[in-house]
């Protein structure tokens, strides 16, 4: 998402590239797959009684954010700059009136393709927050929170970081594919919300182990796969091979992070766990996202290994400080995003995505300083704005389900469904009880009439 044109010669005016357009449509589809992937990643980590709610909290983002994006989101994020903090272009409202072959400024892909690619980022970011809120938030409150949050937080922050004229972008902060705008943003928001809504009933007392590690692995696998679109697509084409470097760095850093997390676990807790492998992989993906366009493959190994190790240690912080980040959105996404963004200041080789070089490549402290400004400004804004939104919702419609409902399971209360049918005896018991329910419903209708 960098500003400089992808054209190989300065004199070339960009023309539509069929190859880049096709590549970007595929990348967009890959990024879309990350949201259901995330749903499984999170869904497997919660208890049976709230697994559907966890899936739905991610899935609903596909609905809400898509519509908002077309109506005004794309215009707010990527419209003409207004005061370095927000965008607005009326021709982007409703995404109508754009020519099929009208190019995204300075690139070889249509505006529509850019809008579709960016939409997928806007969808997954609020979905990431949901992992911290597992088991206890009213679905309506969550849907409203997403609506407000993307409008007040995500669209502006995307403009700051990636929009032409956005203040962090103009300052030279490097966020290749969303370490700042996506992961730090979502992680800080998660912290803001859970400070308002509080802990799950039974936090630190009841066992809350994952109900399905195979689902977690499926989700992590889909995330890893989709992340190639997320990262390799973020150069908006591959004329100069940078998309390919990014693809390679994504793979390398993820592998290193998984191994580092597993190694830490084996030494610290005695086993190589499945959840550790999945978590390490995601931590690596998060950390390489901002940095992968500016480092070498060896740098990517270092970044991944650092992220795997530090995030593995960071997930324990919630027990130490007593905040209930149910599925470690802070430990993995916030910490991983901060690490990846700051490590750009060390590992940027210069001459790849941008000419800026990090400390290890003779660049001095300048880039590190810029990265720090990007990290902490987004962190602070997202934390405060998200806490405020959660507070307003909590005081009006209420953010949490009742304690009774939380204990008996949020799936049944909020969605009138349960994930699995555990009734025994070959399902006979189940079908009889279903029939009884159906009769009861019919009877009550008769009474109403």
């Amino acid at each position: 998402m960098a500003a400089s044109a992808i054209t190989t010669l300065a004199a070339d005016a960009p023309t539509l590239s069929a190859a880049n357009t096709g590549f970007m449509l595929i990348c967009s589809a890959l990024v879309m797959l990350m949201t259901p992937g995330l749903a499984f990643f999170y869904g497997g980590m919660v208890r049976v009684k709230s697994s559907l709610n966890m899936l739905m909290m991610s899935f609903i983002s596909l609905g809400i954010v898509t519509i908002l994006w077309v109506l005004f989101g794309f215009s707010l994020a990527f419209g003409a700059d207004v005061g370095s903090v927000i965008g607005w272009s009326s021709e982007y409202v409703g995404l109508s009136g754009l020519g099929l072959t009208q190019l995204w400024d300075g690139y070889t892909i249509p505006v529509y393709v850019f809008a579709v690619f960016q939409l997928m980022f806007a969808i997954i970011t609020p979905a990431l927050i949901s992992g911290a809120l597992a088991d206890r938030v009213k679905f309506t409150a969550w849907a409203l929170f997403i609506t407000l949050w993307v409008t007040v937080v995500y669209f502006p922050v995307a403009h700051w970081v990636w929009g032409s004229g956005g203040w962090l972008f103009e300052m030279g902060v490097i966020d290749f594919a969303g370490g700042t705008a996506v992961h730090i943003n979502a992680g800080a928001a998660a912290l803001g919300v859970i400070l308002v809504i509080g802990k799950r009933v039974g936090f630190k007392k009841d066992p809350m182990r994952p109900h399905s590690l195979p689902l977690v692995m499926l989700g992590a696998g889909l995330l890893w796969f989709g992340w190639f679109g997320f990262n390799a697509g973020s150069w908006l084409g591959n004329d100069d091979g940078i998309g390919a470097v990014m693809f390679l760095n994504t793979q390398v850093a993820t592998a290193a992070a998984m191994l580092a997390w597993l190694g830490y676990e084996k030494i610290r807790h005695g086993s190589f766990t499945t959840l550790g492998a999945a978590s390490g992989a995601v931590a690596g993906l998060v950390a390489i996202t901002p940095s992968g366009g500016s480092c070498s493959p060896l740098g990517a190994i270092a970044i991944g290994a650092i992220a795997g190790l530090v995030c593995a240690m960071a997930v324990g912080l919630k027990y130490k400080f007593g905040y209930d980040d149910s599925l470690d959105v802070i430990g993995v996404h916030l910490v991983g995003g901060v690490l990846g963004s700051l490590l750009v200041g060390f590992f940027a080789t210069g001459g790849v995505q941008s000419d800026a070089a990090g400390l290890f490549y003779g660049g001095g402290l300048e880039q590190l300083g810029k990265q720090a400004v990007g990290v902490f400004s987004v962190l602070a804004y997202s934390l405060l704005a998200s806490a405020l939104l959660a507070f307003l919702l909590d005081k009006t419609i209420g953010m949490r389900v009742s304690e009774d409902d939380e204990v008996s399971g949020i799936d049944q209360v909020e969605h009138a469904e349960t994930a699995y049918d555990f009734s025994g005896a070959g399902g006979g018991v189940s079908s009889r009880s279903t029939a009884t329910t159906a009769t009861a419903v019919l009877d009550s209708k008769k009474v109403d009439a």
């Binding site: 066992p207 182990r209 994952p210 676990e265 610290r268 807790h269 005695g270 086993s271 766990t273 959840l275 550790g276 978590s279 593995a312 997930v315 324990g316 027990y319 470690d328 430990g331």
Partner: protein, 112 residues
């Protein structure tokens, strides 16, 4: 008549079945069970958080036998179930007042 109940390690089921069959026991009932004895359960680790799992999976085997065969059947059960490691389980017997075969209505020893 006696009802012999054995709580054993799940992987021992096949061996026990074979041993009982070889001894001449005609039928048995098996169900999944969970519980703990003196050794308690085990520990699982999820992202560094340790959970103690108290209830360990077990198999519950029930056999109806005539009084004079009860001790021998219990010995067969114990020797087939034994691994010598902690958590091997328990076997006990209780007296049974009456037994009826549902299909034929036979009672007592004929019903076994």
């Amino acid at each position: 008549m006696k009802l012999i109940t054995a709580i054993v390690k799940p992987h021992k089921l096949d061996e026990i079945k074979d041993a009982l069959q070889a001894f001449g026991v005609q039928g048995l009932t098996v169900s999944e069970a969970s519980g703990y004895g003196r050794q308690r359960g085990h520990t699982e680790v999820y992202r560094g958080a340790e959970y103690t799992v108290d209830l360990v999976p077990k198999m519950r085997i029930e056999v109806l036998v005539e009084d004079d065969a009860a001790d021998d059947v219990m010995d067969v059960l114990v020797s087939a179930a034994q691994t010598g490691k902690i958590g091997d389980g328990k076997v006990w017997s209780v007296p049974v007042d009456s037994v009826i075969r549902v299909r034929t209505g036979e009672r007592g020893a004929d019903a076994l």
